[in-house]
Amino acid sequence: MPAPQTTPAEQVWDWLAEVPDPEIPVVSVTELGIVRDVRYDGDTLVVAVTPTYSGCPATAVIDLMIEDKLREKGMENVRLERRLSPPWTTDWVTAEAREKLKQFGIAPPIDGTAADGMGAKAARLTGQTNLVVACPRCGSAHTERVSQFGSTPCKAAWRCKDCLEPFDYFKCI
């Protein structure tokens, strides 16, 4: 049965909260902060989505999953918009999502530590970085970065020097 095209935006946000990120399914697209707007244009429901990383292959899948979810809920006229500005930042990942990431074994992003083109220089000069990422398994702060890049564009590879487990860190942009 089609849902009326007057379904309140709050209801639509709740539906979108059921759409998981395809690569990190413990968090939803709304928790990641990539759904930027829900509104009506005439009787068309418009959902504005912003990409995380510009080349992230999950972007197209996310769009498809959002559209599928809204159709499953009975919405018929749906349009997705790509919103680039302001660019997505990990600061928008909600507190609940950060807790879920940790439970899932991914160290959540630490706000204000995004690369600015100069960070590597500071790290080279001092021989260390002031970034302390706690191990999501044992909680130890005695960890080190293995690589700035990890299994997906949004993650870096780290390892814990206490429990010796490797882990992903949700890096900041």
Partner: protein, 272 residues
């Protein structure tokens, strides 16, 4: 905010439909997109061949970011041109002489030293250019793409600078390879800072800076890293290779396109 959003989800931008500016703006967007596309393709050639797993993943991630930037720049180029070509059509169905990338990015990937040094020399320029565009461009569409890309290019530059220092000031073998790479690539860097009439038209509209205006900052930031890396840029007496921005390429570009475009040429419109 919301009243600035056009139906497409992008901000209103009078330059996108400015008929007088169209030829120059389109070409300039192709230069932006083609630099990202060709460097992204070269970088992706390491996928599965990196010297260590972490580098392999880093290079694949970097390539992916660059392909993402390509989609944004060439997508906008297609809108400005308004002849029904999207980013895919521009990437897969233009011949070499229609490509507008600088020669630096099309040179073969070489060894890791060439790959790292090229990325560094280009990233230092790319970071400056995108910073300018994100802050100053009169075109809201250009500014928002630049702001998005800048976040990623910032960590590209950090990674490349770090590797240039570690390998340049590393073992005798890594130092020698990095110096050889710098000697090879340096004569290709001048093209990034040489403007032509198209650059002037776009600069006069306040969309982009004059390429020359970025040169002093680029030289200063590059010199600082090269000093730290104990590397020395060769003397070229002002000579540099150029022509890519106007479509005059080295023989290497054709081989890239042969590989990149084969599928769409042989099976037009194929998708999955």
């Amino acid at each position: 905010m919301s009243d600035q959003i056009a139906a497409s989800g992008a901000p209103q931008d009078p330059f996108v439909s400015d008929a007088a500016l169209k030829p120059a703006f389109f070409e300039w967007l192709c230069r932006m997109g083609d630099n990202a596309l060709v460097l992204g393709h070269r970088t992706s050639e390491w996928c599965g061949h990196g010297p260590v797993l972490e580098e392999d993943i880093a290079l694949a991630n970097t390539a992916l970011d660059l392909i993402g930037h390509t989609q944004m720049w060439l997508g906008l180029a297609g809108e400005v041109e308004d002849e029904g070509r999207d980013a895919d059509k521009l990437a897969y169905l233009r011949d070499a002489f229609k490509f507008r990338n600088v020669l630096l990015v099309e040179l073969p990937k070489g060894d890791m030293a060439v790959t790292v040094m090229r990325e560094f020399l280009f990233d230092a320029y790319h970071h400056l250019l995108l910073s300018w565009l994100a802050e100053n461009s009169n075109s809201p569409r250009v500014a928002e793409i630049a702001a998005k890309a800048l976040k990623e290019v910032s960590y590209h530059l950090e990674r490349a600078s770090d590797l240039v220092v570690r390998l340049g000031d590393g073992t005798p073998e890594s130092h020698r390879r990095m110096q050889d790479a710098l000697d090879l690539l340096w004569p290709y860097t001048g093209e990034m800072f040489e403007g032509d009439a198209l650059d002037t038209a776009v600069a006069e509209a306040g969309i982009a800076p004059q390429p020359e205006d970025l040169k002093a900052d680029w030289e200063a930031s590059v010199q600082e890293i090269l000093d730290e890396a104990t590397l020395k840029a060769p003397e070229t007496a002002g000579f540099f290779h150029k022509g890519g921005k106007q479509g005059r390429h080295t023989e290497h570009l054709g081989y890239i396109l042969a590989e990149m475009q084969f599928l769409q040429r042989a099976y037009p419109g194929a998708s999955w």
